[in-house]
Symmetry: D2
Subunit: 339 residues, 4 copies
């Protein structure tokens, strides 16, 4: 942390800041400049609360230098984490593709989609049994019945099941039927839920919140890892901005930004990231080109009749073309270096 | 809902849209224009999913007209709701002031603040026992011990206790010790939690999420009311924008915007809404001037030593001046009309 | 500036940073910490370009400490600037009110509004002769004919004329007919225009850009002052955010933020800041309560027929009520302290 | 346009709306619904000002349906525009690459970069002679001397010169020395400048403003085209959001969004779009993968010594690798369909 004094701060005020630093057990480094003095702090092991300083007389600003997370960082682990889900993986050489309907609506619908997903060579099937819906009057998912259909799909097609949990009881159920727990954007700072999945033996897919900074997202992963579960995959799914030609603004620069700081794999969701059918494939291509470890996409056998998010779901045909396009791109890009 | 066709849509494509509308059991109103045709839909009782139309050939856009909420609206109830908390109230003629430390840290600290809060004439005391913290390594609150201190404050000073619950177990505890349940910004779309407090007999203070639109915020209130709890107070506490001179951007236009749609009371949080001590009083004044029903402010007996959010807490002196300034403004403004 | 090294930076890399600093003629202050080393820089008179350091091996970040502006700051001038416009002023004890139609449409319209503005006790009349319009097909203003009407209003009612200039030729004309040059939000970083009005003898009303940070806004003022014109009034008029219940999000925290850094007066525009008639008065009250030096509001004798921005214009009656409400608030708030 | 009435609007209020529509010479289509009535408007040739309706009693909202632009649209021209710059082109089958330093600093620097740009097979050279700088004290470009160096580069290397103009005098100079006029993000709504380049015989590169919606950006292009210059290339260069891990948030969904509406070519600027050297290549790959017609990238022979924006400039080596990577991606993606 660096304490920047006001231009007219007195020597006594600088001295008072130094004294507070020393009382806290740290070392103070005053640096008198032409216009103003700054005081560096060292000797701290964790983050220092800026409020110790911001209200002291003569202080202009307290600038945080160290980052507040540890386990997610490349400082902690140099090699990229490969998250293993049975015999499939995310973060390795192969591009991970997670596909399926927004919500499991019926056995027929889910099986029709799963067949195409399997045929495409994807290893993961997504489908919501518990749906977080903005309106209390919207379809909220089939619950445990949906999970049973998903478990059947795993048995029939050999696909790994990725599905969202909304609270502790639904984590219990997802653990029983599925292979990977998804934490949705609206739950990214549901700390009770993060701690609960941190105690799970299943890997976790952690979506970025709509207004989450990079630090907040990584700290959400840190919550999970701090409980002992190191199998975390990050997922960029768009942020909320003034731009209204898409449902969210897909922030693809987050992929190299995560790479530079963290060893965790990171994938892209072009379906929620755009909210528009015709944009999903171009943004999926861009996600792979930017260096993501995989994609999660919504596919429906009849998007016009979908019970949720039909506007962004791909048809089966569109999905198959998407897979062949992103595979071709994945082959030509050099593997993104770590760090 | 209005379906806007592309400029080059064929008559057959318009006809197909009309047919889908009629199959859904609604009435279609085609309106051929100079440049393009639009088709209005009536006869629906709830919201129509735009995805029925957005992927049909020739369709440019499906524009939602009706709002998806009911219970929160002035259509449902013309008179403003007054939320009663024992013998105190929010939404009536008197300006409601909720004040106290960010987190309950100790009996001594909480009592020191409570004494000043009581002396100021405020009727509500705030203080966190369960703190949602961005970092897993930050102080997370005293839990039930904190609630016990709050209950003592109620008994000693006659203040009503407002405190945050993070999950179902903490709602159970808050119900036992406090008078009003706060749902924090990060939990605004924790739908499990919203349904749980919807079944509570305590009133609920619902903070706006960092990236919540007006509709999403009102729908979160609708979740609570749909379970039967009509005692909901909304709280504007700042949104996330590019603007970095404050921690959040306080969106005071939300107050008249809520007023025009909803009968629920709405208050302002200038502490989280700015994150800076020196801004709290001016923005509190602005919140009252814009027509809010009350304020929630952070006060600490020694902000420099606060375990959380010290940078924004007022000193006891600053708080007393704030109260006298906002009371003066409240007296001169005409009561904001409903509707 | 502070150079933060990566956790695994070598001593040689730190040494290389020190060397670059010294080659630039500054003094380096290395501060080895538990996790990483930081190097402070002093001895610079102006801002240092971070790019000297950001690409050096081992460097994590270059953090700017000093602010890049001077003339706008309280460091440069302790007392608040009072901008004088003839016998009227902005920034003094009296609340400045600038009112009038968005665009001058006709002599009749402008005179009808001006009469009410004068009667309200306001000293300034606004009205656009050159209108920056998003669409090339929208009404672009009456040009010099509009300015002539404004000049007549000055002569008839004794009001000071505030009107926008879009480019150098329109500055020439505005100088001929008006009393104060307005620089609109879209022109806030039109540096050619800023330099031109910096050479004018008229005071300048500088609106904040839709996506301008506080620093960018103050630097725009610095451009004007660097040319010798110190008569600058800042105007907060809303920023662009995800929030769509208003045309822009009025960032009232900008008022105390400016106050803390700058001696320049700052006013609020609740008309563009909300874009909705029914919000103008509440936000005007809030603007005065937060401590602004004045308001600029749009008034029209027949808003339904306005050629631009009718949706936000007040009727003459609404305007008169607004003035009496904001005056009452202005009387009760303590004068905001400088610094 | 669609006028949505309030739920409690009276028949007389609906009738009054119909009457206003008919007085304006349009046709009204009232659609009584279960909850509320809406009134469609047809018969208009251009956009209707919503303010005719928004303040009428009983009106809840006026929803704009038709778009306010024409010349930029696929309705006007079905085939994609190929902008020709001498024997080079943007918008055709070949990927257009525009590369060079942020600012022309010296003949030596510019030539060193140009040689590498030429060798890479790129056809366009960029370099600023007039730099819009946030601070009045920053390097503002070499002016006409810079343009002369650029003209020499054209003669020596056969590269087409793309350079920014800030105002009318600099357009005159750019026309004399260069091949394509760049309008920067800060000038996107400098309507005087847009009209001036609309009268030029040179093609125009129009960058998206930091807070520009898709409609505003297309309307800026419409300003240029309305003056007769149809040779416009759009450039996505990042928007301003809360996300602070990059200088701007590159909104790659804008590429398919433009494609669906407009026949104009659109390119991507990964340098300003991220502001960080290590992100430029991944985002350049993403830009090509999403379907952009080209890239504009900053390259410097010695980024650490750059006079502006060094932190984002690629080294010559990095640039050569970028070109080979994006070419490989361009080859594998199917040409994006129009419409």
């Amino acid at each position: 942390m660096l304490i920047v004094m006001k231009a007219d701060a007195t020597d006594g005020q600088v001295e008072a800041v130094v004294q507070v630093i020393e009382e806290l057990g740290y070392k103070a480094h005053p640096m008198p400049g032409a216009a103003r003095t700054a005081v560096g702090i060292t000797g701290n092991s964790g983050a220092i609360d800026p409020s110790h300083f911001e209200t002291l007389p003569g202080v202009a600003e307290a600038v945080r230098i160290s980052k507040p997370y540890k386990l997610v960082t490349l400082d902690m682990r140099k090699e990229k984490t490969v998250v293993r889900v049975g015999d499939a993986a995310i973060g390795g050489d192969e591009l991970a593709i997670i596909a399926g309907p927004c919500a499991v609506e019926s056995r027929t619908q889910a099986f029709a989609v799963a067949e195409v997903v399997r045929r495409s060579g994807a290893r993961f099937f997504r489908g919501g049994a518990f749906k977080p819906r903005t309106s209390p009057y919207a379809f909220q998912g089939l619950g445990e019945d949906g999970l049973k259909i998903l478990a059947e799909i795993r048995d029939t097609f050999g696909l790994k099941i990725v599905t969202e949990a909304l609270d502790e009881p639904s984590v219990d159920l997802v653990e029983r039927y599925a292979d990977m727990i998804q934490i949705g954007a609206r739950s990214m700072q549901n700390f009770t839920l993060l701690r609960r999945v941190g105690k799970s033996s299943l890997p976790v897919l952690l979506k970025r919140g709509l207004s989450a900074t990079l630090d907040e997202w990584l700290l959400a992963a840190e919550y999970i890892m701090a409980e002992g579960n190191y199998q975390v995959v990050l997922c960029e799914r768009g942020i909320r901005t003034f731009s209204q030609h898409t449902r969210n603004t897909l922030d693809l620069a987050a992929i190299p930004a995560v790479r530079r700081i963290s060893h965790l794999p990171v994938i892209v969701d072009p379906s929620h990231g755009t909210g528009k059918n015709y944009m999903v494939t171009p943004l999926a291509r861009a996600g792979v080109a930017v260096g993501a470890d995989g994609l999660i996409v919504e596919v429906h056998d009849s998007p016009g009749n979908a019970l949720s998010d039909g506007a962004q779901a791909l048809t089966l045909d569109q999905y198959e073309r998407l897979v062949s396009e992103v595979r071709a791109i994945h082959e030509v890009i050099a593997p993104a270096p770590v760090g």
